[in-house]
Symmetry: C2
Subunit: 427 residues, 2 copies
């Protein structure tokens, strides 16, 4: 019966079997060390007999081995215990030396090399740490929404019409006819508010982004939520706050070693997120009051303001001009130039966009016609609105971007398992 590396310290004096990869070998004068890597971490195996040392010399890094031996306490060893008198059984020999030295504390290779060799590079504890945080965040997202009465949905990624705009959409051949990859589950999640009131979806979205930047991907994981019977976008912000708090708490509980390895300090989510109207935000940023959007420098200034005035890493800016928001956005009732939507900024960078949507059929027809488009081309989407939809809203979090912001990764590709972009379709 195999035990894991992290269970070794509680098995002192016992004969145990562990299994994993040869992470590193170290030969000293009288003794050799085998550092074994398994899913729970590293363990130290002490090899003394000349025969076992000779065997170890033959086992290259990344050989898959099973080791049986006795656990001995040793304050110098990781976790305070190590395995002595081992019998090492190789399970699989590698066919090549790894392109990256996985045992070095930091990755000694540039991002292109890491990405080209992702199947192996992801084994490096510092590289896999990014995804450990992502997996914990996914768990926290679902748990938080489940706790708030949301139902999970899975909606089609092959769609008959471009979701939000005709631009940046991937086209495919669908049994001889045209189809597209969904840019977001926006239309479907709204539709499903009519069924379950509160829904969430975790799934891939596709953007044919012609930009080669550190933050754009052609495919990413979108964490979407949408729910009905709201007063306005402030209710959406409240659910978002609870959800991000749950994600952060899950990351703290489930990915603590990854946070430590990447030297990440988790932010506190305040009970009340400070909220600024877009027009106030422009003032604080010292921007022209007619600007329709916030520049990155403006967002940084607002982030500093939130930290200074409210001690908060988070700040919401509400009321973005309608002209900069998608057609289904609900206007601000008191002044329809503004919208009932918001951006949540984290440490001065946009993290999540959310807001209230239109809910009346006639409002959709008017909004679509105002774009010079025909409601006919949105007929599937509009079905739900023909038959009574409550006031509703929602938000979308890009998983990889969320993790990048949390870890301070400069390039979103650092925390994406197998990124897709303008130039990259493999591995």
């Amino acid at each position: 019966m195999r035990i894991l590396s992290h269970e070794i310290p509680s098995a002192v004096g016992q004969t145990v079997t562990v299994a994993g990869w040869v992470h590193r070998r170290r030969r000293l004068a009288a003794v050799s060390f085998l550092i074994l890597r398994d899913r729970s971490g590293l363990s130290q195996i002490v090899v003394k007999s000349p025969e076992a040392q000779a065997q170890l010399d033959e086992l290259g890094e990344e050989t898959v081995v099973q080791v049986t031996g006795t656990v001995a306490a040793n304050p110098q060893a990781p976790g305070g215990a190590e395995i002595v008198d081992p019998v090492v059984e190789p399970l699989t020999q590698p066919a090549q030396t790894p392109p990256i030295e996985l045992w070095r504390p930091s990755v000694g290779a540039g991002l292109p090399v890491v990405l080209d060799n992702a199947p192996v590079a992801l084994r490096h504890p510092a590289v896999r740490a990014g995804w450990e945080i992502a997996a914990a965040a996914l768990h926290g997202f679902r748990t938080a929404l489940d706790g708030q009465g949301f139902t999970e949905i899975q909606t089609p990624k092959i769609v008959g019409t471009a979701t939000e705009s005709g631009a940046n959409v991937f086209a495919l051949d669908y049994f001889g006819g045209p189809a597209y990859l969904a840019q977001s589950p926006q239309f479907y999640k709204q539709t499903m508010v009519g069924v379950f009131e509160r829904v969430f979806e975790v799934g891939p979205v596709f953007r044919a982004e012609p930009h080669d930047t550190v933050r754009h991907l052609a495919e990413y994981v979108s964490l979407d939520a949408e729910f009905g019977f709201i007063r306005d976008h402030r209710d959406v912000l409240a659910v978002l706050r609870t959800t991000i708090a749950g994600m952060l708490s899950s990351v703290g509980e489930r990915a603590a070693p990854a946070l430590e390895r990447l030297d990440v300090r988790l932010p506190e989510m305040p009970l009340d997120v400070p909220v600024l109207h877009f027009s106030e935000a422009l003032k604080i940023a010292g921007a022209d009051p007619d600007e329709p959007d916030l520049a990155p420098a403006d967002e940084r200034t607002i982030g500093e303001w939130a930290l200074r005035e409210h001690g908060s890493d988070f700040v919401a800016v509400e009321g973005y001009p309608m002209v900069k928001r998608p057609f289904y956005t609900h206007p601000q009732p008191s002044d329809p130039r503004w919208s009932n939507s918001f951006d949540l900024l984290f440490r001065g960078v946009e993290l999540v966009t959310g807001g209230q949507r239109l809910h009346r059929y006639s409002d959709y027809v008017a909004a679509i016609e105002a774009r010079g488009e025909s409601p006919e081309s949105y007929s599937s989407y509009l079905q739900a609105f023909k038959h009574g939809m409550p006031p509703h809203g929602g938000f979308a979090i890009g998983l990889e971007r969320f993790v990048a912001r949390l870890t301070g990764a400069e390039n979103v590709r650092e925390v994406t398992l197998f990124p897709r972009d303008l130039h990259r379709l493999t591995p």
Copy 2:
């Protein structure tokens, strides 16, 4: 503060606010009833004043309303309580009469009408029940694997080469070059065994299925698991057993009303799933011993055998001929005509396929060359195997098919939110 329908019985004597859709109106001589539908179920609102009755007459089915009134006990009402003296506030008027009478106990329309009108038809309690079971199954799948030390992954759906075979793959234009939609996460989940040892993924898979049958979809949700350090496929079957037991238990706990509405009896998952070798299965089915596969009638006979001999709704058939399995399948060591793979049958129908995979680089090269293909064209996939992979295996469950088998739905489309097939790309 809004409460939900199912909370009404515990609020007798209190003034409450509920909100939802006008599910049905019933006018009797002296009194009218408004049946309100929200995400938790139905509630009854008693309307007596002539003004309120006149108002109710104007509110068509699917009007979104908010109702404030007093809760009164009434053994005749659903849950034993109803709302009296209501003030009804319409929130959204429908623009059209629903194409399906949602208030009828069973859906009075054929499947094509239901699918064409899915945004509204899914509001019917009997239609949405299918997805309630699916959502509960998703929760159970993740919880069961999380409890067994698995890490969630999300891998790309746009891939550079067809996953398992060149057939039935959707091609797309990727920034001017060719790309494909992933037919499964098979290659990526195996790769990630090298990183996390135990991984699962829930996500869409795409099959350009030219068959118009009751069980094929062009896009479906695949529940994938893969893990290392196994002895053989029997370890995979054991994890699958625990996982399906967890899914069934989650469905029982979280979707009880849906099960009741669809009159579904949940099966028991035995602690030990009966296992037959493929060659024995052919004998029991009375089939030719040289048959390379089980016909549907054979599977039914084996299902009956399992129920009769073992009192089990489940039975696994192991050792399927290698010629019928994908190239990465691990052969049966004692006789390489057979494979270390299995099908899990449920009530005589295939539910899940799983097995042990090859893990040595040289075995992959040989298997690919035996197909007359070049290892070069699998170079991304083979990276992981070049650098030491443990013996491993896994399985994949088609979500919609799983729910269809559980509910007895004749057509998998009945339990798919927005099906995609040869003829259907909307809604």
